[in-house]
Symmetry: C2
Subunit: 463 residues, 2 copies
C-alpha cells in the first residue's frame, strides 16, 4: 500500500516556537500611537497580559513552549501530514501534493494552536475572563475550547453575518461554556453607536474587535483581558508549530523541501503557521515559491497599500504597518468569514514588502468548485477559507503538469467545513455569484487612513 | 509528557475481518421467509449483490479484506486509541478509560467502515446505483462518501424527523454527489401509502428501509442494489476492524485486556465493531463485562422480546431472529436518530441470549449531561448516539471508584456531534425532557409479530 499519512508522536510536538522577526532582512516598523510615536509595552497592559506583550515585542528567534502548554496541545497534536494522492491522480499532475491537516483539532481548525497558549499565559498572569471577536466562528470556538480546558470565563463577539449564517458555531461555543453574542451588539458603547447609524450592518471583524477590547478594558477589577486570533506577532508565533511539524513530516515522506507553499490568509495566522519556517529557509538561500491566498472580496494584499492603519473600526488598537483596505472597510458577506478582515498581519505584510512571498486572490465560485473537487477526491469537506488554498493548489498542480515538473506542493488544510454547509448548499443551488470590487470602492474606503503616519519605503529584495 | 494517543501505521489496518458467527456457542437461527421456511441466498439477489450475500451467510472465522478496500480505508484508518485522562481526573476514578476514535472518518462516524466495502463489492458485481435509508444521517453520509470515491450513483431516504432536525446532513450527502430525500416520500408506493394514512409522521428507519428496498428492486435494468448500514451480519463483520485495531493499541498502551467494553447500540454495528473481538475472548474464557447501550425511548434489548420480526415497516425484508419492539414501532423523536431502530442485529441479539453481553439503557437528559462533561474535559463534541456510551462509561468509572478498582474501560467513540448541535442547543435551553414509555405502549406495538414463527428457546450460558 502506498503510504499516505505521515504521523509524528507526542514527543515530536515542537519544544519552541519560531519567531520570524529575528530573521527578517529589514527590521519591522513599530506599532504607533495616535500621536505618531511608537507605543510602549505598558500602553498595551490594559489589553493583554504582560507575558504575552513580551512575546509580542520579542526579537528572539526561538521561544520555549511551556510543558503544560505542550501537554494541552497534545490533545490533538501533532497533526497528520497527508499526501493528496487521489487529488493528484484526478488532476493527472506530476506534482506531489501534501497537506497539513489542522482540521483535526476539537474546534476544527488551526486556531486552538494559539487559543490554548493565550488562555494559559492569561491564567498564569492571574486573569479570570477573556474577551474576543470572531468572524467565521473558528477563533471564537477555539478560545471557548481553550478557556473550558483552563477554567476561564469567555465572551465572544461574533460578526453578525456569520452569527446568522452559522448559528451552530454559537452553540458550539456554549457547549464549551462560553457566551457568544452578535456584533455589533448593544452591550458596548461602540456597538450601540454603530447600530444607531447602521442598524442592518452585517458587521465586520473591525467592529467586533472594538467591542471585545472595550469589554476587556472596562472591567474595573483588572481581571479581564482581550485576545486576538490572528494579525499580532505572538499569534503568528504560536502557529509556527504547523510548519515546524510539517518540515519533519516532509522528511519522513522522503522529500528534501517543498517547491511551493500555500495557505489561505485572512489576518495571516494559518498562512504564517505553515509558511514562516520555510520563509526562513528562503531568507537563507532556499528556492521556494510561497503564496498567501486571499478572497477577491477583501483584497488587501493584492489591491491595498502597505500603510499604517488601525486593527479595528473604533480605532482602539495602535496603528500597525500592514497591507490594508482601511479600518472601516466592510467586505461583502461571503461565506469565508475568516477572510473578511481589512488588514494583513504586519509580519506577513513585511514578507510581502521584502518580496519573500507573493499574494494571490481567488473568487468564491472558483473556490467552492475546488472544494467540491476536493470532497469527491480526498473525501473531506473543507472550510470555505481553506477552499481558497485548495483553488491555488489546483492551479499550481496544473501548472506543474503543463511544465512537466515533479514539484512538491505543501499547503495548510486549515479547517473543516462541517459547520459551513450552508455556504455549500447555496453554491450548489446556484445562489452565489462572482463579486467584483471596483477601484473607486476601494479608494473610498482608504480615505480614512490618508492622514496617518506613513510607513518607510522598504527595500524589496530579490529571492 | 504522559502518552495519551496510541497510533498505528497504515500497514496495521487489519487484513481480515472477524466473523463472530464462527464462534457463537449456539448456532444462529436462520432468516425466514413469510412462509416460515429459511430463506435461500438466491432470494436475496434482487436486493444485494451475490458477493455480499456470500459474506452474509458465511461461517468462516476470518474473511480477507481486499487490498483495494484497505487502500480506501486508509484515507482515515487506522483510527487513534486515546486515553481519556482528563475525564479520569475529573471523575477522580482509578479506572483507566480508553476510547477508539471513529469520529475521524470524513463522514464523522464509524459508518464508512462498512459503506466503503459495500460500495466496492457492489461495483465489483457490476452495480451502478445504490439506495439506502438513514436515520441520524450518519449512514447516508457514509454511503454518499463511499459512492463518491467509487463513482457510483447514490440515493438516500432520510427519516423525516432527522431530515428536518439536521438539514446539513443532506447538504453533506449532496457535496459527495448523492441524492437525499425525506422519508416517507412520494417517490415509492410504500411512502405514498404511509403519507396517505399519516401525513405528519416523523418517519422511522423501518419505513425508510422499505422505501429504499422498493427503489432498488424496482429498477428493471438490474443495476441497482440496496445497502444497509447496520443489523446485517456482513455490516457487523466490516465493523470488526474497530475492535481488532483497538486490541493492538491496548497492547501498545501496556494493557493486557479491557475489564469493561462499551458501545452505544442502535442497530448494533458500532457496538459489534468494538466488542466482537472481545466477545470472542470471553467465549474462550476471558473475563470481560460488555455493555451495549440503548436509548430508553427505543428499548428493544432491555424491554423487548427475542423474536422473529421484519427489519422494515412494509415487511419487505425476511424475518430475522432479534430483540425487537415490532416492525411498526415509531420511537419518540429524540436527537440520537441512530438509536431509533425497532430491532437489534441478530448477531448482537444472539450474544445477549447467550449471556455474553448485558444491555443497558439511558435517558437522553443523562446522556446530554455526559456529553457536556465530555466536551469540557476531553474537549470534543460527541454525537448524541455516542453520548449514551459515555453516560455508561461515567457510571462504570464511578463504580470502579466506589470499589477502589483499577479497571480498564474501553469504549467506542462512534461519531462526532458537529452536525447535531441543534440537539445540544435544545438541551442547554432546557427544552428536552425525560421520556418514559409505558408497558402498554410497548405491548401494543408488539401485536404485529404475534403470529410470526417463534424463535427456539436458546441456552443462556454463564460467562
Amino acid at each position: 500500500m502506498k503510504i499516505k499519512k505521515f504521523l509524528l508522536s507526542e514527543s515530536d510536538i515542537p519544544k519552541q516556537w519560531y519567531n520570524i522577526a529575528a530573521d527578517l532582512p529589514s527590521p519591522m516598523q513599530p506599532p504607533m500611537g495616535p500621536d505618531g510615536n511608537p507605543i510602549k509595552p505598558e500602553m498595551l497592559s490594559p489589553v493583554f497580559p504582560d507575558n504575552l506583550i513580551e512575546q509580542e515585542m520579542s526579537r528572539e528567534r526561538w521561544i520555549d513552549i511551556p510543558p503544560e502548554v505542550r501537554e494541552l496541545l497534545a490533545i490533538w497534536r501533532p497533526t497528520p501530514l497527508i499526501r493528496a494522492s487521489r487529488l493528484e491522480a484526478h488532476l493527472k499532475t506530476p506534482a506531489r501534493i501534501y497537506y497539513k491537516d489542522e482540521s483535526v483539532s476539537p474546534a476544527g481548525s488551526h486556531k486552538p494552536n494559539s487559543a490554548v497558549p493565550q488562555a494559559w499565559y492569561n491564567k498564569k498572569f492571574g486573569i479570570k475572563k477573556l474577551t474576543t471577536e470572531t468572524g467565521a466562528g473558528q477563533w471564537g470556538s477555539a478560545l471557548a475550547f481553550a478557556t473550558s480546558l483552563l477554567g476561564l470565563e469567555c465572551k465572544v463577539f461574533m460578526v453578525r453575518i456569520s452569527f446568522d449564517q452559522k448559528p451552530f458555531r454559537k452553540t458550539l461555543m456554549q457547549v464549551w461554556g462560553a457566551k457568544c453574542i452578535a456584533s455589533p451588539s448593544s452591550e458596548t458603547r461602540t456597538g450601540r453607536e454603530i447600530l444607531k447609524k447602521m442598524p442592518d450592518t452585517p458587521g465586520s471583524l473591525g467592529i467586533a474587535i472594538s467591542e471585545a477590547i472595550e469589554e476587556a478594558v472596562s472591567d474595573k477589577t483588572g481581571k479581564t483581558r482581550y485576545t486576538l486570533g490572528s494579525v499580532l506577532n505572538h499569534v503568528l508565533l504560536h502557529q509556527t508549530i504547523i510548519g515546524l511539524e510539517a518540515k519533519k513530516q516532509l522528511t519522513l515522506a522522503g522529500e528534501k523541501k517543498p517547491d511551493v507553499v500555500i495557505g489561505c490568509a485572512g489576518g495571516g495566522s494559518n498562512f504564517a503557521g505553515i509558511s514562516f519556517p520555510f520563509v526562513c529557509d528562503k531568507i537563507h538561500g532556499g528556492k521556494i515559491e510561497i503564496y498567501p491566498v486571499e478572497s477577491t472580496t477583501c483584497p488587501k494584499m493584492t489591491r491595498g497599500p502597505f500603510a499604517y492603519d488601525h486593527g479595528d473600526t473604533a480605532r482602539m488598537t495602535p496603528l500597525l504597518p500592514m497591507y490594508t483596505l482601511g479600518h472601516t472597510f466592510i467586505p461583502p458577506p461571503i461565506h469565508a468569514g475568516g477572510l473578511r478582515y481589512h488588514g494583513m498581519a504586519p509580519l506577513v505584510s513585511q514578507c510581502i514588502v521584502e518580496g519573500l512571498i507573493t499574494p494571490r486572490s481567488y473568487d468564491q465560485l472558483k473556490c467552492y468548485d475546488a472544494a467540491l473537487v476536493w470532497a469527491r477526491t480526498e473525501g473531506t469537506v473543507c472550510a470555505p477559507e481553506t477552499s481558497h488554498a485548495i483553488a491555488c493548489v489546483i492551479d499550481e498542480a496544473n501548472k506543474a503538469k503543463k511544465e512537466g515538473k515533479e514539484k512538491v506542493i505543501l499547503f495548510n488544510y486549515s479547517g473543516h467545513g462541517l459547520l459551513d454547509l450552508a455556504g455549500y448548499e447555496k453554491y450548489m443551488a446556484g445562489h452565489l455569484k462572482e463579486i467584483r470590487l471596483s477601484d473607486s470602492e476601494l479608494c473610498e474606503s482608504l480615505e480614512v487612513i490618508k492622514d496617518f503616519p506613513k510607513v518607510k519605503k522598504a527595500r524589496t529584495g530579490k529571492w
